[in-house]
């Protein structure tokens, strides 16, 4: 008798009530769907113009590369703080997945760690999506080795090609094959998976063909696993974004890169000065032109991202912000 409540009839009644209530709740929200935006809009109008933000409100939809995500997140966070009433959302479906949504007209801005490809441009054109390509930051692609590695300090692109070329698969397995001065030590390679924009950029730069790489290396989409791999093996070598090196400086040694004009170590200064070549790679946001024209909040967000005053938000994420000339050049594209 203690559990009399749970007799059949009451359970059925409770279940029915729950379903009815939920449906009613859903229905209720359907009809008032426009309300939150309206309220938010009103708030936005009432608020005094915040620093750096225009008097705008509404949604800004971003999606795309997870490499660019930390920048987009930082910008979104600060933009929303400076411009109450705006709602910025950022997705991480990858550079390719982002362009798919972007060209279907579902997002306002697409983050990408590589330039848009021909077939993606065709897809956008077919759907009447016009866009502007904006570089928003620079990443220093960093080649790292184990701290016990005392033989390699600086490498040329040719040496890296010897390691990573598709022909090297199964044949180049020792450091002394890369350079006769290097010791007899097994070479263990770690790198991002083939879906990664970092992989595309590295293979394009080193092997001359985006996507052409030996396949017998340890690949992971999670750069933290690459870090762990190199930490654990004296003969290891890996490449990934600068931020992952900076956060693990104690466990890793970065290599200087000789792009033809002497050895340069990866650093914010070298990237800003344009000396860390060819491994300084631009990170992009692709902006839909019609969104900038029709949604003032999108235009305001783009202005915010391209404002040199906000460059610290980029630097905090471990990427390198643009230099003044680059900022001016990117701003000119959206004027």
């Amino acid at each position: 008798m203690a559990f009399k409540f749970w007799n059949k009839r009451n359970v059925a009644f409770a279940a029915l009530t729950a379903v009815t209530l939920t449906i009613a709740a859903c229905g209720g929200t359907t009809t008032t769907e426009a309300d939150p935006e309206a309220e938010v809009g009103a708030e936005g109008e009432d608020t005094e113009m915040a620093e750096g933000g225009a008097d705008v409100s509404g949604d800004v939809l971003l999606d795309g590369s997870s490499t660019v995500f930390p920048i987009a997140e930082a910008m979104a966070e600060e933009f929303m703080a400076a411009t109450p009433g705006t709602n910025v959302t950022v997705g991480t479906s990858g550079s390719g997945g982002g362009f798919e949504k972007f060209c279907a007209g579902e997002t306002d801005i697409s983050n990408a760690s590589r330039p848009i490809e021909e077939d993606e441009i065709a897809n956008c054109e077919a759907n009447g999506i016009e866009f502007v390509e904006l570089a928003v930051a620079t990443d220093a692609l960093t080649v790292v080795v184990n701290p016990e590695n005392d033989w390699a300090q600086c490498m040329t692109i040719e040496e890296l090609q010897t390691m990573w070329a598709p022909e090297s698969q199964g044949t180049v397995t020792n450091w002394n094959q890369v350079n006769p001065e290097y010791p007899d030590q097994e070479l263990l390679l770690y790198g991002p998976g083939t879906d990664s924009g970092t992989f595309d950029y590295f293979t394009e730069t080193v092997n001359g063909d985006g996507g052409a790489s030996r396949g017998d290396y340890t690949a992971s989409e999670d750069d933290n696993q690459l870090v762990q791999g190199v930490e654990g093996d004296p003969g290891a070598l890996a490449y990934f974004g600068f931020a992952y090196y900076i956060e693990n400086q104690d466990q890793l040694t970065s290599l200087e890169i000789d792009g033809g004009e002497g050895c340069v170590a990866p650093s914010q200064e070298a990237v800003l000065a344009g000396e860390y070549t060819p491994f300084s790679r631009p990170l992009f946001m692709y902006v839909k032109v019609s969104a900038m024209e029709e949604k003032p909040q999108v235009a305001a967000f783009v202005d915010f991202v391209l404002d040199p005053a906000n460059r610290t938000f980029v630097d905090e994420t471990g990427y390198v912000s643009l230099n003044d000339d680059q900022y001016a050049a990117e701003q000119a594209k959206v004027q």
């Binding site: 359970v11 959302t89 989409e221």
Partner: protein, 311 residues
Amino acid sequence: MTTSDPNALPAKPPGGIDIAQGDFEPNLKRRYQYDNIFRIITWIATFIGLIVLAILILDTFLDGLPRLTGNFLTSFPSRRPEQAGIASSLVGTLWLLGITALFAFPIGVGAGIYLQEFASDNWFTRTLEINISNLAAVPSIIYGLLGLAMFVQLLGAITQGRSLLSGGLTLALLILPVIIVSTRESLKAVPDSLRLAGMALGSTRWQTVWSHVLPQAIPGIMTGTIIALSRAIGETAPLIVIGAQTFVAFLPNNPFSSFSAMPIQIYNWTSRPQEEFHTNAAAGIIVLLVVLLLMNGTAIYIRNRFQKQSL
């Protein structure tokens, strides 16, 4: 007479084994030893799994517990790990679970009841059964693609595209086979005598099922549903395909809102370079585990109530 002596050993059967002559040695000690060895082996098999789980949980708790403050639960994602929180993805996950349960439970249980209690045994029913069992083994990303084509694109006018509703419906599809199968198993376990008795007293099939068979099966159905929902809560792949966001700095307040979910937020934090974000990920995992345990706890509570009542 030797046979009347209870202590006497049986006479040696012709050509058989003579225990008294040592043909059969009871050797109880060694046989009990085998028992023990086997028991230890099964014990190890059980505890390997538990120990791995314990280490994982301990490691996660050591990493994440210091980060788990009230602030963490009420803050939005941030580029500053110490200010970042899980509020929007926690609420997103709860919304998703609600929508998923709302659709998957009635449809799944209904389908299970039909197949077990009403459908006649013919080729059509058997084809359905085989397909439902196969669907339970389909990788979740396939459901994501199905949801993208069906709910986001085809029914976009109703679901508002990449919304909580689309995500919840996709997860509902994902767990339907599990609910259907467990509903059927629970109904199968209800003794037939109950159905026969009901019908012998003049109840219709519907009356028998609704008032007698179903209440008996509810504990099993609840368990199956909770296991299914627990699967749904941890899914990332289909949600990313559907278009869940990673950075959402508002709480979704209607089913048509865009959203994030806890597994997506946790995955994003683990892949960040900064160690502090990894700590956030551990704290996020703890929150996810707590939600999961609360769900399971509720299910066990409901189940126990039904079981006591039906006794």
